[in-house]
């Protein structure tokens, strides 16, 4: 027995030694693995990515969320939700551009769009006629009177009416906003201006509505008549409205302008740091989209079973420009948050002798369809939504510059054609809205194209000729600069560092011959471009452009804008 115990102990000792050996091997392998994890290169072979493939992981488990207007207001007014660090946008590619994604598809920013294409926007049809399309239920959110109908194929549409005192106002705003946001690159739903004959309104027997008691009950003709009493009636006896087609997929509620959806594996970039959401402040300012908040967005679960992804939509443009949806936009809109302490306290302690400047703005006498919209007092940098928006708060000059370049893509002719889509019965209304959009666009460009060094579109030819553009000069919002200072360096991508001695060059225009020594034998070369302009000293902050030697010559692969 003792020898047996000894034998057993020996066996255990042997096993223990083996395990110890194994553990040591494991530790060594881990160390090797860690050692193998070298410094990341600055640029990957697929940089700059043009598409962020954020639909690859199945998001079928995402669940609908519902927003509270009261909570949303209180949270954003009294708290500071989101990551408030002043950092560059995190979803841009190495060229400082926004890749295509489930949020954004580069359209007017990447290619020339024909005016017809811009005007058509998201719509798949020229017009729709909703006569006899049955009402299937009430409209569940928002203050605008309306209901939901289905077309003969069963597609769901939401009908929203214009307010009685401002016929054509909200419906006009809706289609103009949808066309512009679509061209900019956002996902928006199809929307059509329609005229509804009250004699041809049909209610399905299963249609329901919620009465003021909170009970859902069958919808009656009297319910529709009550809605129509709050709607603008046209001289022909019909009611003008917008018919918005529901997007494909399963509704998931709205997206917040901060954080990420915890149930969406593809949503990894905090929304407050997404450039297209930060930059949407510029678009909102241009169009006076003061209702640009999370609750006016839409997430849809799209795709086949097992391979679904969340698609993010901008939604509800009935309260842009001079429209407040059910009334003319209030003068405060765009000028001050609903609750803003400093002007309120000044007004309080001075017993009203302090008058906020926007109160004194004169709005021209225009058609009721215009609402309250102007361009003279408009100051893009001071523009405000209804209450704070985290992504807007975190917008940096480079975000605004990116957005302003997109705004600059809308020509006067394109804007006139977009406004015509609203089919205003008064030509003066269409003309006024067009002129106001043009003037506001120009102010946006002056404000935000000049806020950073506006060097764009750098190219380095195989022959070593560098060309680039000055976006502010090209847009006509700044004079030509005195010159550019170029600092060339060879660049080591593996270590993300410059090699050798930089070489400086001064040129008077956006063109230069690269020093041959810099290009010879280099895989990467960088050039820091400073713009010297007496009116814009901030332009001296360099834009650093990185080029990679490829089979077809030098390709721009990186751009950083201070």
């Amino acid at each position: 027995m003792p020898s047996g115990r000894k034998s057993s102990r020996a066996a255990r000792t042997s096993g223990s030694a083996a395990r110890t050996f194994t553990v040591r091997v494991v530790v060594v392998l881990i160390a090797l693995a860690a050692g193998a994890r070298g410094a990341a290169p600055r640029f990957y072979p697929d940089d700059p990515i043009q598409v962020d493939r954020d639909a690859e992981f199945d998001a079928s488990k995402a669940t609908p969320i519902e927003g509270s207007n009261g909570y949303d207001f209180a949270e954003h007014t009294f708290l500071k939700p989101g990551d408030r660090r002043d950092i560059p946008a995190v979803n841009v590619n190495t060229m400082d551009e926004v890749p295509d994604s489930s949020w954004f598809t580069n359209r007017i920013g990447r290619r020339a769009m024909a005016i017809d294409e811009i005007v058509r926007g998201p719509n798949s049809m020229d017009t729709v006629v909703v006569d006899d399309w049955p009402i299937v239920r009430d409209k569940t959110s928002g203050i605008t009177p309306g209901y939901r109908v289905t077309d003969p194929s069963g597609r769901l549409y939401q009908i929203k009416f214009d307010p009685p005192d401002h016929p054509e106002m909200a419906s006009g705003a809706e289609v103009i906003g949808a066309a512009i946001y679509h061209a900019l690159g956002y996902n928006v739903v199809e929307g059509y201006v329609v005229e509804i004959d009250p004699a041809k309104i049909v209610i399905t027997p299963t249609a329901t509505t919620v009465d003021m008691s909170g009970r859902r009950r069958p919808m009656r003709r009297s319910d529709v008549d009550r809605l129509l009493a709050r709607a603008a009636r046209l001289p022909n006896g019909k009611y003008r409205a917008t018919a918005s087609r529901f997007a494909d997929g399963i509704p998931l509620g709205y997206f917040k302008y901060y954080g990420t959806r915890p149930d969406d594996p593809n949503d990894i970039h905090p929304h407050e740091h997404r450039r297209e959401l930060r930059g949407s402040r510029v678009f909102a300012a241009w169009l006076n989209h003061d209702d640009s908040r999370g609750l006016n967005s839409l997430d849809m679960l799209d795709g086949p079973e097992g391979a679904r992804h969340v698609k993010h939509y901008m939604f509800d443009f009935g309260s842009i420009m001079g429209s407040g949806s059910v009334f003319a936009q209030v003068p405060r809109a765009g000028n001050e948050y609903i609750l803003e302490w400093t002007p309120a306290l000044k007004t309080l302690v001075t017993l009203g002798l302090f008058v906020r400047p926007w109160i004194l703005v004169d709005y021209p006498e225009t058609a009721p369809s215009v609402g309250r919209f102007e361009a003279e007092f408009f100051d893009p940098a001071k523009w405000r939504p209804e209450y704070p928006n985290p992504a807007f708060d975190l917008m940096r000059p480079d975000d605004a510059f990116w957005a302003a370049r997109l705004v600059g893509k809308f020509s006067d002719e394109a804007l006139r054609a977009i406004v015509a889509k609203a089919r205003y019965s008064d030509p003066a209304a269409a003309d006024y809205i067009t002129r106001t959009l043009v003037t506001r666009r120009d102010k946006v460009l002056r404000t935000w194209l000049t806020g950073v060094n506006p060097v764009v579109d750098p190219q380095l030819s195989a022959a070593g000729v560098l060309t680039f553009d000055n976006a502010a000069v090209s847009a006509g919002v700044a004079s030509a600069p005195a010159g550019y200072v170029l600092t060339w360096s060879r660049f080591d991508n593996a270590t993300d560092s410059a090699l050798g001695v930089p070489q400086e060059q001064r040129v008077s225009g956006p063109r230069a011959d690269a020093p041959p020594a810099m290009l010879q034998g280099s895989d990467y070369v960088s050039v820091a471009i400073q713009t010297m302009h007496a009116d814009f000293p901030g332009w001296a902050a360099p834009v650093v452009v990185y080029f990679r030697q490829g089979t077809g010559g030098w390709q721009p692969v990186g751009l950083t804008r201070k």
Binding site: E56, G67, Y71, E75, N266, G352
Partner: protein
Amino acid sequence: MCRLLLVAVQVLAAAVVYAQEPATRAEELARRREEKSRQLAPPEPGRLERTLLALENGRLFERILNPPEGFYPKIGNITAGGGFAMGPAYRKPLFGERGSFNALAIASVKRYWLLDSRLEWPQLAGGHVFADVHGRLFEYPQEDFFGLGPASRRDDDVIYGFRGSEVGATAGVRPVPWFALGARFDHLTPSVGPGNTGRSIGQVFRGSTAVPGLDAQPDFLRYEFSADLNLREPLGNPRRGGQSKIVYQRFDDRDLGRYSFRRIDVDLQGYVPLVRDRRVLALRAFASSADADRGQDVPFYYQRTLGGPDDLRGFRQFRFRDRNVLLLQVEYRWEIFTAVDGAIFYDAGRVAPRFEDLGFDDLESDYGIGFRFGTRNGVFLRIEGAFGSSGGKHFILRYGHVF
């Protein structure tokens, strides 16, 4: 042992592969998404958000405070000076929603109570005709009384109880939205008692000579005709326009033949917009004159009063009482921010036994400052401080607008 080593090597091989830097940007992003896919969680709104959402979706405020149908709690005031009151109320749409039945039973912290019911048709004939039949029972046990006339003394403050019933009907036409003509008929059964607290009216004032109507209260028939020109914009919290209202009332003593009288009330309001309607100068002039039939008198409990949160705000409720009343009010209102206005006000007025004694001399007055909380559609709460009167300082917390 070999198996353990094999497993370890396999795991580590995978770890080594994963520990390698991604080869592409797409791979880097995919790894981050894969990482997140292992940590998914449903969105979980906080308790406050869930609560607010439930309130909004369920229309709880509307359902609780002002539902179109069913029982709901009624909260507010029964009458001026009655204190905070609440109780159950009921509403039932009738006649295809052209009419409704309303009833309520509320009581206040000062033991005031009211039972009220009415059957009403507010929008007949396309909104051009309105009518109702109504009835109410009430008891107000702590009504202040300081004597009659402009010289009444603050130290004579006594309490009386007032109870009664009203049964009647109203009808009117509204040819345009801003003008209405109305007529009303009521049977009234007033009754005066000692009150439930403090010094009773009978301890200081005795007999109908000094205080008409104190010793006996007959039933009355009341006939009323009114015209209302209302050009206020917006109606609930006006910034411009005005309102002119004139009401003629006839009270017929059905039992004693001692207290039949007539009364005319004229209420003029004007709103001068300043600074694009963000400031308003609000003006009001109210005059009331009652005239008894020959050999008759106006009972004290139906005489108009001044004093309290709606007229002379620097004085106690019902501080002055007589047959004739003149009230002048001016307010400067300024918008502080959406939903909150400030106001500076000045009130002046007096009562008199004869109409010709009313004038701009010897007016009682006060001034003050306050805040109003509400929207374009109306003021739901006002907080004011009134000063500068012989009645001392008064803090006012009141539901609804002053005028």
